[in-house]
């Protein structure tokens, strides 16, 4: 197993390096002189040169890249072109919103999807199955930001239970913070859960057709026990793969949903920075998101090795 993890770890490093290179090329090398972009076309050449030196943009490209990557490892992401404050601090501040939001929506997704998927598989072709599956068909077709708007229409405009946007913060009370993330998390998770529920259902149904299910029943296990003890663990492998892939979309989704609810998270920071032409912030945010996606998928692969004893031998 350790060989498997080691090999997978090497691809993780390669992938992260590749991602950083592409992001650097697109967001630093390609645009040309960021100082010029910041100051506009009619800025005096002297001022531009001064800013270029101040931002360290006079250094050669490879040096700046290596410097950035080293910085990524030490947490020194440089200073914002616009505010002059450390990028790491800007991002950290926004993460206090985005991470709880991501965790909330991922957990809601998993709980919703697994219960719906297992329920429908256990009641294959019965009324409940058909009903829930039709619902997921609609769920998949919903754009999450539209669903968010509909939730606002219902809960904020009509019922006036929750505010239409904004973030209460964590200082006042944790509950207030969670409350302002509730609608965003729901709108992110319902759509994702619809997809994951379908995956779960077909994975469980697939495993239910396996011979060892019959063996387990022949031992005297009830259907319920077979489902929980024998089927689910086997079914989790495809489900986890999709969960890993969905994580990328979940993060992308938070960017969209933060805009719907005017939440000061990472997504808003990115958009502000694009508007401010603060490319160093954009670059680090994008790297963070891509990095998290890559690492999550690495973790999923490593988890397989723990869940599935066969991987120890196959050394995929």
């Amino acid at each position: 197993m350790s060989v498997f993890i080691f090999r997978r770890f090497l691809t993780l490093i390669a992938t992260l390096l590749g991602a950083s290179l592409i992001i650097f090329l697109v967001l630093d090398a390609l645009p040309g002189n960021a100082a010029q972009m910041l100051m506009g076309a009619d800025a005096s050449p002297d001022a531009v040169r001064a800013l270029t030196i101040k931002l360290g943009l006079d250094q050669p490209l490879y040096y700046r890249y290596v410097h950035w990557v080293m910085g990524l490892l030490t947490g020194d992401l440089g200073n914002s072109y616009v505010y002059g404050t450390p990028v790491a601090g800007l991002i950290a501040e926004r993460l206090t919103l985005t991470i709880p939001l991501a965790i909330m929506s991922m957990s809601m997704t998993v709980v919703l999807a697994l219960s719906a998927g297992i329920y429908t598989a256990a009641n294959h072709n019965k009324l409940g199955d058909v009903g829930v599956m039709s619902l997921t068909q609609f769920g998949i077709a919903l754009p999450n930001f539209w669903f968010a708007i509909l939730l606002i229409l219902l809960f904020s405009v009509k019922l006036q239970w929750l505010s239409a946007g904004g973030f209460a913060g964590w200082d006042e009370s944790i509950l207030a913070g969670i409350k302002s993330l509730l609608l965003p998390a729901i709108s992110l998770s319902v759509v994702q859960a619809a997809i994951l529920a379908r995956v779960t259902r077909s994975a469980v149904l697939e495993v239910l057709r396996e011979d060892f299910v019959r063996t387990a029943r022949a031992k005297g296990l009830s259907k319920r026990d077979v489902l929980w003890r024998h089927v689910l663990r086997n079914a989790m492998i495809p489900v986890m793969t999709i969960m890993g892939l969905q994580f990328a979309n979940l993060l992308a989704g938070t960017i969209v949903i933060e805009n719907v609810f005017y939440l000061p998270g990472l997504g808003r920071l990115i958009f502000q920075s694009i508007a401010n032409r603060d490319l160093i912030v954009v670059r680090n945010c994008v790297m963070l998101l891509a990095g998290v996606v890559v690492i999550v998928n690495f973790v999923v692969d490593v988890l397989y090795a723990f869940i599935d004893p066969r991987i120890k031998v196959h050394n995929l």
Binding site: P31, F138, W146, I195, V256
Partner: protein
């Protein structure tokens, strides 16, 4: 945002039937998903085509005097904050969406299918490289690519088409490679190789025709994903730019008026949902019809 739909994952291992089964249309017209999905998709396509020749009002002319009108005989769904006719905006919006979708999926298919076929034909390190690259691309959902592109090149249709196109590639590579590998293992391909045909000829003559049904199904689903992505990007202001109407943009505009005119936020979203639902159902139907073995789960 949009998510890789389950279908793209388990399709890989399956084997394929060589041709479209006989009696396709007779069976198709009795298949519920196919008929409903096909009807919805045709409706959206029809709206887009109609907008080329006729819209009730101009979708571009601003008439602030008649802004935010409720539905009436003149404006069936009312007008927006700039006095534009909602029905006309929806029709032209369909055109924007479909255009972005078609070009983006086209890019995805061109690169995804070629790379997938190449990976299956060459195996070895070529395959390894292509698959690693496509895994890598998974880390960049359309929104992320679009953000990067918008940061350097500015927002717009080109940005969103490129971002969505890139985002389409890895799924299509995987699906193509998975099914192509299955074909390469089949006897008739072995026979073709034994008779001295090269990898390129076998790919064109045997592999491609056999993976076509799966690709048609996948392209339908990818199209649905592209529509979702396009809507999100234009909602965020990264995609289609005003004054060109788009469904996502309409939602963004409507959001500031939720308290005054809530319905303005309902129509464009419903249009997106109908288009995506239609394509997904059509894809499900096609999967059943083109290759029954792929649809065991239902």
């Amino acid at each position: 945002m949009s998510t890789p739909i389950s279908a793209s994952v388990d399709v890989g291992a399956a084997t394929v039937r060589p041709q479209v089964p006989t009696g396709f249309w007779r069976r198709a017209l009795r298949h519920r998903s196919f008929v409903i999905g096909g009807t919805l998709s045709l409706m959206v396509l029809g709206a887009a085509l109609l907008s080329l020749v006729w819209t009730p009002w101009s979708a571009y002319e601003i008439d602030v005097a008649s802004k935010l009108r409720p539905p009436s005989a003149a404006h069936w769904l009312g007008t927006d904050v700039l006095g534009r006719d909602i029905v006309s905006l929806l029709l032209v919006g369909a055109r924007s969406t479909i255009m972005v979708g078609i070009i983006a999926v086209g890019i995805g298919i061109t690169f995804g299918v070629s790379l997938g076929l190449l990976a299956a034909a060459r195996r070895g390190w070529t395959e390894e490289l292509i698959m690693r690259m496509s895994d890598f691309t998974f880390a960049f959902p359309a929104v992320l690519s679009a953000i990067m592109l918008a940061a350097v090149a500015g927002p717009g249709m080109v940005t969103s088409i490129t971002a969505i196109g890139i985002f389409q590639i890895p799924t299509l590579v995987r699906v193509t490679r998975g099914s192509a590998n299955a074909i390469w293992a089949r006897e008739f391909v072995l026979a073709a190789r034994a008779s001295g045909k090269g990898g390129f000829r076998i790919t064109i003559e045997h592999v491609l025709p056999n993976v076509l049904p799966i690709l048609i199904v996948q392209a339908t689903i990818q199209f649905a994903l592209a529509i979702l992505a396009e809507a999100a990007l234009s909602y965020l202001g990264l995609g289609t730019q005003p004054p060109q109407p788009s469904w996502g943009r309409m939602l963004n505009d409507a959001q500031t008026l939720l308290f005054q005119s809530p319905m303005l936020a309902v129509y464009p979203g419903a249009a997106i949902a109908v288009a995506v639902l239609g394509l997904n159902l059509l894809g499900d139907g096609l999967r059943d019809l083109l290759d029954p073995r792929l649809s065991r789960e239902r």
